[in-house]
């Protein structure tokens, strides 16, 4: 049921205004002129009543999701909530059992795989190395949907690869073997590969995993900038404060269902965090950005993990 969605999509992060953390160029809270009902978000991602089960277990349960064009959307939720699966459904890695997904005016189910891959890119979190590939080879994989089988890489392909490497901050290790990189470096290469697809919609599965705090903030600032350039971004994130600081729009999943969606300031409340993660938290205001900042209370070691929100 979609009745649980408290705040419908389209509410772009207009909570905080001005300011920004040190690494950001002040792009926060830029109000975007989207249809407030979320039904006609120009060029953005829209999903309605998306449902998916694997081995008779319901993993994504009637999910409604909207990310307006050029917005940064954050997908939040405990482990196993269905975040990665939802990203896979949007990317076309898995096919939804029911429901509709649309990018702009196009029904994703009706797009050819290759056409979809030219418009949607997925940067995954855990990527086991392909032995012997150099970083620039890996990024060049992102050009596959744009290339024919026989033609070799064009000057344009090479230019896009070079640009993507620079944009993701991976240019300095372009000629190193991928399987010798650190986790954080791999994350940047994965992003560069996704950017080389020149997507309208960029999906990221925990892009800040393995990154130190500086690299995390850089990554989020980069996503912010990409969104300002018109790319729609949807990232599964674990860090609530990070999501609150950078996302225009957050969607909270628990046990496959959308529990809440909307601007971070409206969605991330003490009650919601207790309900979804089973953690006591105070939601403060960031002294500089005015965005929500979440301070957690201690959890005793023997505290029971949160009961997943009931399915069915």
């Amino acid at each position: 049921m979609s009745g649980e969605v408290r705040v419908r999509a389209g509410g772009v992060g207009a909570t905080g205004s001005g300011g920004g953390v040190a690494t950001d160029s002040g792009g926060f809270g830029t109000a975007r002129s989207d249809d407030p009902t979320g039904s006609g978000a120009l060029g953005g991602l829209r999903g309605s009543r998306v449902r998916f089960s694997r081995a008779s277990r319901l993993i994504v349960d009637d999910v409604d999701i909207t990310v307006p064009r050029g917005a940064v959307g954050a997908l939040l939720g405990p482990n196993g909530a269905g975040k990665s699966t939802l990203l896979h459904l949007v990317a076309g890695v898995e096919r939804a059992d029911a429901g509709a997904l649309a990018l702009g005016d196009d029904d994703l189910a009706a797009l050819r795989r290759r056409d979809r891959a030219r418009r949607i890119a997925l940067a995954e979190q855990e990527v086991h190395g392909a032995q012997g590939l150099r970083v620039d080879d890996v990024v060049a994989l992102g050009r596959i949907p744009h290339q024919s089988a026989w033609a070799s890489a064009s000057a344009h392909d090479r230019a896009v690869v070079a640009r993507s490497l620079v944009a993701a901050g991976a240019a300095e290790f372009a000629d190193r073997p991928y399987d010798e990189l650190s986790g954080g470096e791999r994350q940047r290469v994965n992003l560069a590969r996704a950017l080389a697809q020149e997507p309208e919609l960029l999906l990221l599965d925990e892009p800040t995993n393995h990154l130190d705090i500086h690299a995390q903030l850089t990554m989020l600032a980069l996503l912010r900038r990409l969104a300002d350039d018109g790319i729609t971004v949807l990232a599964a994130l674990h860090d609530l404060s990070l999501a609150a600081g950078y996302a225009d729009h957050v969607v909270v999943l628990a046990a496959g269902r959308v529990v809440a969606a909307g601007a971070p300031g409206e969605v991330l409340t003490t009650e919601l965090i207790r309900e979804v993660w089973g953690v006591e938290a105070s939601v403060l205001e960031h002294p500089r950005s005015g965005r929500p900042l979440i301070a957690f209370s201690e959890v005793t070691a023997d505290a029971a993990p949160p009961a997943p929100a009931p399915v069915e």
């Binding site: 891959a117 990527v127 392909a130 949907p145 089988a149």
Partner: protein, 326 residues
């Protein structure tokens, strides 16, 4: 390019090697004469050695080597399993059963078709078994291939033993270990034809195989229809393996050694790896087969003994290098 020249030169030189004392010039003379471009200068006996015996054999070796190497590259990429190869996963044994049923029992099916059916059956059983045993990891797949090879190899031996009248041991050895001793122009045409019809299109799939480098989800996100592509390409490798085994028996390890050796030099990009592995595979098998027929002259070794002699240690080295994968 260099490899292609080297291969052409090797074909000529390999034909001269052996107990007739031929020179490369004799090979050219014979070939030109048979193509209607020159006067026959060799004695009919020596000409026969070049044109009827050695030339088709060397060309068959080249086609089989190239085809097996292509199969190895494609299978390794699609299953993300560095140990995949038509021999280790049981396809070659399955193809042998099909071929032997036609040749020995005289079942009225086209030879390559029967071998293809056998290879396909072996492929299906290997992957089915591996999946049932807990997933398509390199280890389970190779173990399943071992079981399939053992059974299909035994069936091949039984069929030959049960039906053959004369030298059944030799016959069994040739099928199980692979041999090119019976190669004639018909085998060269079959192996070469399969290479042209199936192998060359497989060489063109480099970009698709690249997309599999980071797993199925990544390939899918790059616009590849993962299940359909994998099924289609694996069936193609079964088809190619079937045709090759029908002329040579189950020559092992070519599909394992060559792709890895070439990878060390040119890396993992399949658009380079596929054609170069094919050329290297052809070169390799031409020379190994030349060794097989001359080392113990006048007796002949099944060529599979020599490829296993090289391939076994390579397999062991790969196993050690990939222990974290299994």
């Amino acid at each position: 390019m260099l490899l292609a020249v080297l291969l052409a030169a090797s074909v000529v030189v390999a034909v001269t090697i052996g107990p007739a004392g031929l020179a490369p010039a004799d090979v050219f003379a014979s070939v030109l004469a048979h193509l209607g471009l020159g006067e026959p200068t060799l004695s009919p006996l020596r000409d026969g050695i070049v044109w009827e015996l050695r030339m088709p054999r060397v060309l068959t070796a080249a086609a089989v080597g190239a085809g097996l190497a292509i199969c190895g590259v494609v299978m390794q990429a699609l299953t993300r399993n560095p140990l995949a190869d038509p021999y280790l996963l049981g396809l070659s044994s399955g193809a042998s059963v099909g071929a032997v049923l036609v040749l020995v029992l005289g079942i009225a099916v086209a030879l390559p078709l029967a071998a293809f059916a056998g290879a396909l059956a072996a492929l299906a059983v290997t992957f089915g078994l591996a999946r049932a045993a807990g997933g398509l990891s390199p280890t389970t797949t190779v173990l399943a291939g071992l079981a399939v090879s053992a059974v299909f190899g035994a069936v091949t031996s039984l069929v030959i033993f049960w039906s053959a009248t004369n030298d059944s041991y030799r016959e069994i050895l040739n099928w199980l270990l692979g041999s090119l001793s019976g190669a004639d122009w018909a085998s060269a045409a079959l192996a070469g034809g399969a290479l042209l019809v199936v192998g060359v299109p497989l060489i063109a799939t480099g970009r698709t195989l690249d997309a599999f480098a980071f797993g199925d989800a990544a390939a899918s996100a790059l616009g590849v229809h993962v299940t359909r592509t994998r099924t289609l390409l694996l069936i193609a490798t079964a088809l190619l393996t079937g045709a090759l085994v029908a002329v040579s028996g189950a020559i092992g390890f070519v599909g394992l050694i060559l792709p890895h050796a070439v990878r060390l030099v040119v890396g993992t990009r399949h658009r380079a790896l596929l054609p170069l592995s094919a050329l290297a595979g052809a070169l390799f098998l031409v020379w190994v087969d030349t060794g097989a027929r001359t080392l113990f002259d006048p007796r002949e070794l099944p060529v599979g003994i020599l490829t296993a002699l090289v391939g076994g240690p390579v397999f062991a080295a790969l196993m050690l290098r990939n222990r974290r994968l299994s």
